[in-house]
């Protein structure tokens, strides 16, 4: 692990430096099929010193090396507290396809965690509305679990979740487990009617009405494809939600994760160090497609 580090958030808050330059080897303990094309990989560090120092915040990401194929940026779904270290990845490009071909016992490389992460302390006492589309639930999972671990700190906690079909709903066992919590409200929809589906049909933005979401003293975490994002934001703004209270996480091609390679530049910011979490007010000023 590289001990050369700078003035970054992780160091200031925890005194712990992320893995900056050289990947640290992790073991794949278990692989689960989630939905078509998406698998979850449960990981552990053979080096226990590194494992102890590897602390994450909800909303951060890591750079993951598939040996022989390359490195990709991936969000972290586990809660910062008492959760198994894992990543959930859709096979999209060269490296993620190579990842999907691996089996338990194979090794990966990890650098990070990087990025600013979702605010946690600042939103205490508020209602939280999670809005996710498809695999957009992956980056939100960490924050959902973390908020439920501190249930008494928040008002209403609502999950609005939509996917193309019932087969495309991520983390179904997790959702069932979260529903055991008192006061965790879930509204789930799929795009088109399906045999055997008795839940909602339609797009996620329609759930906002259905859930009668509170606008005052609330924050919304929104993550999903750009088309969903725009309609959901529109709906929230119409209801008078503040632009600062709508929070999302952006994706970009990344090579370094530490603000040097510049591939993730968006507007005047870099997604890796200034993001990936932005408020809608910030996103508006970026002046670029999201």
């Amino acid at each position: 692990m590289s001990k050369v580090h700078g003035n970054h958030g992780n160091c200031k808050e925890t005194g712990l430096c992320p893995i900056v330059t050289f990947p640290e080897v992790v073991n794949i303990d278990e692989i689960r099929d989630e939905i078509p094309e998406v698998k979850t990989f449960y990981l552990s560090f053979p080096n226990k010193d590194v494992e102890r120092e590897f602390r994450i915040k909800s909303g951060q990401f890591i750079m993951c090396t598939v040996f022989g194929a390359g490195e990709f940026a991936v969000s972290l779904p586990p809660s910062p507290e008492n959760d198994r270290f894992h990543i959930s990845v859709r096979a999209v490009g060269k490296v993620t396809h190579a990842l999907h071909a691996l089996k338990p016992g194979d090794k990966l490389g990890v650098r990070g965690p990087f990025g600013n992460g979702f605010p946690f302390d600042e939103i205490k006492g508020k209602n939280i509305i999670y809005v996710a589309g498809g695999i957009g639930l992956i980056p939100l999972r960490s924050s959902i679990v973390h908020a439920l671990q501190h249930r008494e700190d928040f008002g209403r906690i609502i999950l609005l979740y939509g996917a193309r079909s019932s087969k495309d709903l991520m983390y179904q066992p997790d959702i069932r487990e979260w529903q055991q919590n008192a006061g965790f409200e879930t509204f789930i929809t799929i795009d088109r009617p399906e045999e055997g589906w008795s839940g909602e049909v339609g797009y996620v933005n329609q759930l906002i009405e259905k859930a009668n979401v509170p606008v005052d003293n609330s924050v919304a975490f929104v993550c999903g494809p750009p088309v969903m994002f725009n309609s959901v934001i529109g709906e929230f703004l119409k209801r008078g939600m503040s632009e600062d209270a709508i929070i999302s996480t952006l994706e970009r091609q990344m090579k370094c994760g530490i603000g040097k390679c510049q591939h993730c530049a968006v507007g005047r910011t870099l997604v890796c160090t200034d993001g990936p979490v932005y408020t809608y007010r910030q996103i508006k000023t970026l002046g670029e497609q999201i």
Binding site: H8, F67, G68, V92, R252, K260, E288
Partner: protein, 358 residues
Amino acid sequence: MSMSMYILSSGEISALVTELQASYDVYGPQVEPQTKQVFFDQLATPAALDLEAPIPSMPVKEILFPQMERILKYKYDAENQSVAMSKQYFERPKALFGLRPCDLSGILVLDRFFLGQEFVDDVYLTHRRQCLLISNTCLHPFPQCFCVCTHSGPDADEGFDLDLTKLQDGYLLRVGSEKGQAIADAHQWQVATPRHAKEFKAVVDRSIDLFPEMATDNKAWVAKVMNRITTGFVKQETWEYIGDQCFECGACSFVCPTCSCFNIEDTQTACGECERLRMRDSCSFEGYARMAGDHNPRQPVEDRRNKRFFCKLSYPQSKKYLRPGCVGCGRCQWVCPGDIGLPNVVQYIRREITGGQN
């Protein structure tokens, strides 16, 4: 620290090169005999050093931030599910002898970007850690030079360990750091007199006077254009006009002393063996921001072009660099197959501001 100054003969310069070669890899400007091209390369002998050579074709960043470099090597054994990694970059101390002030400014920009932000770039730091910088005043501008507009020449005013200027009696050597002073203290060089200091000033003033109109004309406009780019007042048509001329070749980025974008790729070298390469990249390439799954948030060429000029000429960026991102070397103007080297872009924006009057 008050700046010590000495006068060195050509013989003493050569002796200094030889002496530095004992503890450094010494790089300097050399003229390739057949093509007359200037390269800033490792010196085999002190005689190869040509301090009067024009600015090198490629910026000196090549030595600290190579076009391509291996940063990691690993072996993985699929059968035994194991992997062994080894860090690959280790660099000998380097002395860069006879840097033109624009290239020196370029290094300072890279320093502030790679070492001064939230994270320290370990790879760049390894190159830079034991570096000695010796700059060389330009007695006259070379074609396309416009460093007087970007405050990075014709003489160096910060960041060097030692600085040379050719005067009548020999080379004036100015000391710019404690490291440089330690070198000077180990020699019996002749101390410069106030007459030499006066001559130095005259030589620099004469050099400034020799800059072509293009440079002096643009002087105030670089600042004005920075303001326009920062505030977003440049019209979309102007960016499109600039974008239309872009061949997306990336040459401007590769010759720019301050362009620092890079790509990282793992390539197989043998069965089960891989190396991680870090290579320069250019924001002008269409695939620059393209993600897996082919979503490309930065498709139109003019979007990519205005990002480049935003990087070179805007306040948010100059806050990172502590100066404009352009050092006025003019190399982008030499190599651009369109007509959108940075000075021309300044002209186009200036034309927009003045309504075509200038």
